[in-house]
Every structure is written in structure tokens, then in C-alpha cells.
């Protein structure tokens, strides 16, 4: 018989997880419930939905930088509605709008997407482009891990079995940084991504001074396009940057039921080309 616990606070949640690290950790359930029907019934369920201490979006100062700390229980609908996120992280809002449809956006959470860590998780390339950090908490303490070090393989993460994902820390981009997002799927609404790309471009006039680009659905995990990032520095928006980006694209996507490797490769190149167009 499956045990079920809805903890009253974060302290209780981490205690339950320390005692039962194999339990299913449930947030909004939008992804987990789809898979759960084809998996063995879990021994126990730790239900984090609306857990006090997991919600909320706050402006914070840390390491001489401004950050937005987004609680792991924040739903996509809450992300879309938040004025500070709209202003500082418009590419996150754009990604959130394309996650499922409204009922899914009302239940799906930031932490759930990170916990599932699917290679097609819609929010994940955005965290790469933003340079976000993941806050993890257990009975032993709290730590933060850069997203780039968080996802370590196909649905594998740096989260310890006793750790809960409690928040994402997103550095507020400097004024003038261009933020981009684009998802390509079979249809506009509710489709699983074929290719996703997110970018943050720092500019001096129309010359790129720094770039961070995250790609999704083109590898076993969300990846940074580091060769393109390096190639873009010093390039001018437009043909100069587009040529550099296309020459530096080095991805090896798979062919599967949703798309072919060649299509994914070409679409990823085209999305980045649009991001750096004049």
C-alpha cells in the first residue's frame, strides 16, 4: 500500500525525505502522472503541492549581484503573471507560456520540471542561458549548484536522494542584455519540443560582447552551445554573427519518433541565426 504524506512545512518535508529517499516526490504532477501509470506503484508519495516555503518570487542581493529567487513550487501561471519576471526574464515567461496549456501551467512547477529533468523540459534551456543556480535543501543543510552542473546526464541530476529542490536563483541580466526563447514543435500548443533554444546576448552597440546559449531536445540533456558562444564574441549582429554561429554549431541530436537528427540540427542553427540577426 502506497504511503502518502503532505508535509506542513519544509522542515517536515526534508525529514520525511531523509527517512524515505526512494519515495516519489510530487509537485504539480503534470509530468509525473503521465509516467506513473506505466511504472511500478511507488512505495510512498511526498506531496509538495502548495507547500509553505516552496512558493514565492523574491528579489535578492547575493555576491554583489541582483537575483530573482523563484521558489520551486512556483507554477508556470504564477511565473507568467509576475511583473518582476516579465520585466527581468522575458524569455522565461515566453517559455512558460508554451508549457502545455493553461491547465498544465496552473499545476506544473519550476521544481517539477527540474526534478523530472527531461531532455525536452521546456524551462531548462532558459536556466542555462540565464546562468541560473539551483537551490537544494536537506536535513543537513542548503546548497546551490549552477544549472550547468545540475543536470549530469539523461534524466540524471546532481540532486542527492535526501535533497529537495527548493528554488532557482536567476541573476537579473544587465540592462540592455537581449534575451531570447524559441520552441519548435509539431503544433503551437501543447506539443513536446523538437528543438528549443534560449539565449542571453550582451551587446556594445551592435557588437556581441558575451553570449550564453542553451539548447534543448538536441542531446541527452539540455546543453550549452559553448563553441557558438565563443565564436559570437566580437561579432556584429547580422550576417557576421549568423555566419560565425552556423560555422560553430556542434550538436549531435538523435532521430526519434518526434523528429530527425538532420531536422533538429538545421532548426537549431536557424533559431540561433534568428537570435543574432540584425
Amino acid at each position: 500500500m502506497t504511503a502518502y504524506v503532505r508535509p506542513a512545512d519544509l522542515a517536515e518535508a526534508t525529514r520525511v525525505l531523509a527517512d524515505h529517499p526512494a519515495w516519489m516526490i510530487l509537485a504539480g504532477g503534470t509530468d509525473l502522472m503521465v509516467h506513473a501509470q506505466h511504472q511500478p506503484v511507488p512505495v510512498g508519495i511526498l506531496d509538495l503541492w502548495r507547500l509553505p516555503g516552496l512558493g514565492g518570487i523574491d528579489a535578492r542581493q547575493r555576491d554583489d549581484r541582483s537575483w530573482l529567487r523563484l521558489g520551486a513550487g512556483t507554477t508556470w501561471r504564477e511565473v507568467i503573471a509576475d511583473a518582476r519576471v516579465q520585466h527581468a526574464l522575458p524569455n522565461l515567461v515566453a517559455a512558460a507560456r508554451e508549457i502545455g496549456a493553461l491547465q498544465i501551467q496552473a499545476r506544473g512547477t519550476i521544481g517539477g520540471n527540474l526534478g523530472t529533468s527531461s531532455p525536452v523540459g521546456d524551462s531548462l534551456p532558459v536556466w542555462l542561458a540565464l546562468g541560473a543556480e539551483i537551490e537544494l535543501r536537506s536535513v543537513h543543510g542548503t546548497r546551490t549548484v549552477p544549472y550547468a552542473d545540475y543536470c549530469t546526464g539523461y534524466r540524471k541530476t546532481a540532486r542527492g536522494v535526501e535533497e529537495l529542490i527548493t528554488a532557482v536563483w536567476a541573476p537579473v541580466p544587465a540592462t540592455g542584455t537581449r534575451l531570447h526563447w524559441r520552441k519548435v514543435g509539431t503544433r503551437k500548443a501543447q506539443s513536446i519540443s523538437k528543438v528549443m533554444a534560449a539565449a542571453a546576448l550582451a551587446l556594445d552597440g551592435d557588437t556581441i560582447t558575451a553570449a550564453r546559449i542553451g539548447l534543448g531536445a538536441v542531446a541527452d540533456r539540455p546543453i550549452r552551445a559553448t563553441a557558438i558562444e565563443a565564436a559570437l564574441v566580437g561579432r556584429r549582429l547580422g550576417d557576421d554573427a549568423i555566419a560565425a554561429a552556423r560555422a560553430a554549431l556542434a550538436i549531435a541530436p538523435i532521430t526519434d519518433v518526434r523528429s530527425t537528427a538532420a531536422y533538429r540540427h538545421d532548426v537549431a542553427a536557424n533559431l540561433i541565426a534568428r537570435f543574432v540577426a540584425a
Binding site: 502522472m33 506513473a36 506503484v41 491547465q103 501543447q190
Partner: protein, 158 residues
């Protein structure tokens, strides 16, 4: 089997239910409220949409045990006796259905929309219904019905 108490359509039910039972399974198989449909089982089609504390939720993405303490409304709880809810009346009047399989979910989503947005525009209705799939009529009459239903919910003629 553990006992679970659910408030559904203004009535309290106590059922035997495992922690891994989906809300839609409890509604259909235990309470026999079969107006809530299962089209895809993968959270895409929206035929299983119900209201949990007034908000539309795909009941295949939620465990029954999570709904304990919440007020659940299914399509069966929308009408007032023999008097159809204005949104149901609008779907009937504007023929917002063909086979009817998606209709309960469409109606539940539409009621939630029109409670949040008093007079939704056509693009708002189309965006809101992205999570509800119809495979027969296309969406033209459904959108017309939702716009009329919004009027009806505000006291106009559906």
C-alpha cells in the same frame, strides 16, 4: 484500503481509495460520475477537466488523495436541477459539439475562463481552450458557444 473523503458537487463522499489512484479514476469508477471523460490519459486532451476549488484541472494529472479537503465540481454538478448552466445552454444553442466526447472538458474549461474574464475576446477563448482537443467539429462553434456562454453567465441570453 484507506478511506478518503471527497467533496464533489456539494456532496461529501467517503470512498476506499489507494494513494496512487488518480482523481479521474475515483470520480468515474468509484463515484460513477462518468461525465468526466478520459480521452488520452496523458494530460493532453482536456476531456477530464474538472474544477478543484473553482480552477480547471486535468483530473488525470492529480491524485484523488490530493483533492481531499478541496471542493470539486464535475460536469454533473454544473446544472441547477433541470436548469442548465448558461455555458451548457450556450453549447446546446450554438451546437458547440458533434460527438460530444470533448464537451464536458470544454464546458468546464470555458466556465473557469468566463469566471476569470467577464467578456473574453475570441483570441482569449482560443488560447484558453488550447488544452482541450476536439477531433470532430473543429473549434468554430465551440468558440461561438463559449462567447455566448460568457454573456449568459453575465446575465445575458446564452
Amino acid at each position: 484500503m484507506p478511506k478518503l473523503t471527497l467533496r464533489v458537487n456539494r456532496q461529501t463522499h467517503t470512498i476506499d481509495c489507494s494513494a496512487s489512484t488518480l482523481l479521474v479514476e475515483a470520480l468515474r469508477e468509484q463515484l460513477r460520475l462518468t461525465g468526466t471523460h478520459v480521452g488520452c490519459d496523458t494530460s493532453q486532451c482536456g476531456a477530464c477537466t474538472v474544477h478543484v476549488d473553482g480552477a480547471s484541472v486535468k483530473s488525470c494529472t492529480m491524485l484523488a488523495v490530493e483533492a481531499e479537503g478541496a471542493e470539486i465540481t464535475t460536469i454533473e454538478g454544473l446544472a441547477d436541477g433541470d436548469k442548465l448552466h448558461p455555458m451548457q445552454a450556450a453549447f446546446q444553442e450554438h451546437h458547440g459539439l458533434q460527438c460530444g466526447f470533448c464537451t464536458p472538458g470544454m464546458v468546464m474549461s470555458a466556465v473557469d475562463l468566463c469566471k476569470r474574464v467577464k467578456a473574453p475576446s475570441e483570441p482569449e477563448v482560443r488560447t484558453w481552450l488550447e488544452g482541450n482537443l476536439c477531433r470532430c467539429t473543429g473549434y468554430h462553434n465551440i468558440v461561438k458557444a463559449v462567447m455566448a456562454g460568457a454573456d449568459g453567465m453575465n446575465g445575458g441570453k446564452p
